[in-house]
């Protein structure tokens, strides 16, 4: 157990380490936000297992590690990078290398009128007022210490702004290439990308975020994204977390929906040693809907944590969250889904489910779907299952000549298909399937224990 004083000093050290590396001349509002966040980071309670939201996810390992925000020049041959890009994927691409925009690797020119897609630094130079309108409007750094850390240490990220009724045909792809290489033994790299997505009235877009560990290395990626969907706006948001298996990943996505807006998310988590993803979704006007589907695989020395908070504050909104997990070896997963239906949120329609397939005895999942309902005319359900591969199914497949490892893999893919099939971009669908199969191969390696 790390004492509270030591935990506090960890955050102070990270603030000090990062303070050297901030962007150049900041506008006043950003300076204020930073100061505010620094104050919050030194005041907010440090997370421990007494906090319900962190009960099953220890941050002690993180607090034992010393990080630096040192600006790392990223040496990577173009060929290696090419391998990390999806073949035949026609996108507007923003590449952030260790959290910083990399212009040569990005292809975000030729945008149609009414669409802004740029790095946060560029937006600070060219559009500080537009940025100021939306920055920090949803994510509350005065409530979460990691959000405060992100705000205090902002260095770069991306900014998407789409004007009224503009429908972007090609998807926007944000690729985070992360590597903690070239860092000294006793210090690891941390990065705090900060992103803003604003879809104005009736705007439509598809956003793909991919987190890629480019080498087996350890680092801390603390990502914060704010998404605003104005009236009738629609966003498809794919998020593929494929960090290095030694990395720390914390992703926090806050979504604010106005009336008749639609959010469709598919979130996949394969990588990381310790990975937590939080979705905070608020319905602020009636007749909005969201659907979020998630898939995670965890094996030895991996913890994956999904936290969802969906707030039905107003009437007539619809939310669907469906998460599935495949656990093997001594892998651990945490799922905490919370749906709040306020007393004015009549005719809310909410469903939340979490299903887990345990391939081994040593795997562990802590799952907690919750409904908190104050309205009296609602349609809500939640459920969770924890199961194993059915021996009858396995026997059936083997009796048809399919070997056991292949049969298991096919059954796991079948279990995951419901989520992966929600990806309607073919190259991404193929990539996700490949990544799942790779992950399942690990599950059938000897020594992963039944």
């Amino acid at each position: 157990m790390i004492t509270l004083g030591k935990q506090r000093s960890w955050f102070e050290q990270q603030l000090a380490a990062g303070s050297m590396q901030r962007t150049g001349e900041n506008p006043q509002w950003l300076k204020l936000a930073r100061e505010d966040a620094i104050e919050a980071a030194t005041r907010l309670p440090v997370h421990n297992r007494q906090h319900e939201a962190w009960r099953y996810t220890s941050i002690e390992g993180l607090l034992r590690t010393s990080f630096t925000s040192g600006e790392q020049l990223y040496q990577q041959h173009q060929t290696t990078v090419d391998n990390l890009l999806l073949p035949d994927f026609d996108s507007y691409r923003v590449v952030l290398v260790n959290g910083q925009f990399n212009a040569p690797l990005s292809t975000c020119d030729d945008l149609p009128p009414g669409v802004r897609l740029e790095s946060l630094r560029t937006a600070l130079d060219t559009n500080p007022d537009l940025l100021a309108t939306w920055f920090g409007g949803i994510a509350n750094h005065s409530e979460s210490i990691f959000s405060a850390l992100n705000t205090a240490l902002i260095n770069d990220g991306f900014f998407i702004h789409i004007d009224d009724n503009v429908e972007l045909q090609r998807p926007i792809e944000v690729v985070y290439l992360n590597s903690g290489l070239n860092i000294s033994e006793d210090q690891q790299l941390m990065m705090h990308p900060r992103n803003l997505v604003v879809l104005q009235h009736g705007a439509k877009a598809t956003l793909v975020e991919r987190f890629v560990g480019t080498a087996p290395s350890s680092y801390f990626h603390n990502n914060l994204t704010e998404i605003t969907l104005q009236q009738n706006a629609a966003l498809k948001h794919y998020r593929l977390q494929d960090e290095s298996r030694d990395a720390w990943h914390l992703g926090s996505i806050s979504i604010n929906q106005q009336s008749h807006s639609d959010y469709r998310g598919v979130t996949l988590a394969f990588g990381g040693a310790w990975a937590r993803t939080e979705y905070h979704l608020d319905f602020n006007h009636e007749h909005a809907s969201c659907g979020l589907s998630g898939l995670y695989t965890v094996g030895d020395k991996q913890l994956t944590d999904f936290h969802l908070t969906v707030k039905h504050r107003v009437a007539d909104c619809r939310s669907r969250e469906q998460f599935k997990g495949i656990l093997y070896g001594a892998g651990r997963a945490v799922f905490d889904g919370h749906i709040l239906v306020d007393k004015d949120a009549q005719r809310s329609d909410a469903q939340l489910s979490n299903d887990n397939l345990m391939l081994t005895r040593n795997a562990e999942v802590d799952t907690k779907p919750q409904l908190e309902i104050y309205a009296d005319d609602v349609k809500c359900s939640h459920g969770t299952t924890i199961g194993q591969i059915d021996p009858q199914q396995l026997f059936y497949m083997r009796s048809r000549g399919i070997d056991e490892a292949t049969a298991r893999s096919m059954l796991c893919q079948g279990f995951a298909a419901e989520i992966i099939d929600k990806i309607d971009l073919q190259p991404l669908h193929e990539h996700a399937t490949e990544r799942l199969v790779t992950s399942l191969k690990r599950a059938s390696l000897p020594g992963t224990g039944r």
């Binding site: 059915d390 021996p391 009858q392 199914q393 026997f395 059936y396 497949m397 083997r398 009796s399 048809r400 000549g401 399919i402 070997d403 056991e404 292949t406 096919m410 059954l411 893919q413 079948g414 279990f415 995951a416 298909a417 419901e418």
Partner: protein
């Protein structure tokens, strides 16, 4: 009967099998020649399903004595998938649903696994699709079912036809049909029986496990055996099945009819 002949496909000698510490098969003997169709009948609990599951290698069936030779080779020491590679096929009484596993993918994986084991080349996607469509038409399986998940939401008849389709694809040497007639109406039964009859061949032996003579009106067996208390207690030709239909099993098993 216990002589190994050049014509032998399956030779079961003195087989004893325990399930959950209870002895179910108690010294079963059965000789099946190439190209023959044998019906195995018998009252509930006589060991019919135990026999089919033991032959296909299901977990939980403990062989405590005896042997089963397929083409003179020890069958019981093989893994389930190896038996399939050697040409054993079990059409199940209750075909299992595989949610999320596409029927076409499943059958292609299955066929290619068997072909690989036999040292044959794998079929590419295009040739496979052509082949499976043709065979599906033969067993009157709606081609739409090929695109669905394996057996998921299929009717009883569709599941059985899907089994016969797999049999047609894998071209087994020894097919064991475990109560294939159960749960089928008369039209579905006729379609399934036609499919099985089309697969009769001098190189293929078939074991029909059934409760009812009805199936044998459509698939005429060469031999009929009665299994009781874990043993074959009576063997004969088609006439035996008719007699059983008329008189029940009591005259053979020595028990009161239920």
């Amino acid at each position: 009967m216990n002589q190994m002949t050049p014509n032998s496909m399956l030779s079961i000698r003195n087989l004893t099998v325990d399930v959950e510490d209870k002895t179910i098969l108690q010294g079963l003997n059965l000789e099946i020649g190439k190209g023959e169709v044998h019906a195995i009948m018998g009252p509930n609990g006589s060991g019919k399903s135990t026999l089919s599951h033991t032959l296909s290698g299901r977990d939980g069936y403990q062989v405590t004595g005896g042997e089963a030779l397929l083409n003179g080779e020890d069958l019981l020491s093989l893994e389930t998938e190896e038996r399939a590679h050697k040409g054993v096929f079990l059409a199940m009484q209750y075909p299992v649903e595989l949610p999320g596993v596409n029927n076409m993918t499943f059958m292609r994986e299955s066929l290619n696994a068997v072909r690989r084991a036999r040292g044959e080349e794998e079929l590419d996607a295009v040739s496979f699709i052509k082949m499976v469509r043709a065979k599906a038409a033969e067993v009157k399986l709606d081609p739409k079912l090929l695109k669905r998940d394996v057996n998921s939401g299929f009717s009883g008849g569709e599941k059985k036809r899907n089994e016969i389709l797999q049999m047609a694809l894998l071209e087994p040497q020894l097919a064991i049909l475990d109560e294939t007639d159960s749960g089928l109406d008369i039209d579905a039964l006729r379609i399934v029986a036609d499919g099985i009859n089309a697969l009769r061949s001098p190189d293929r032996s078939i074991i029909l496990i059934t409760h009812y003579q009805r199936l044998l009106d459509y698939i005429e067996p060469d031999f009929v055996h009665v299994l009781s208390a874990g043993r074959i207690v009576q063997s004969g030709d088609k006439q035996l099945a008719l007699k059983l239909e008329e008189q029940g099993y009591a005259w053979i098993t020595g028990e009161e009819a239920a």
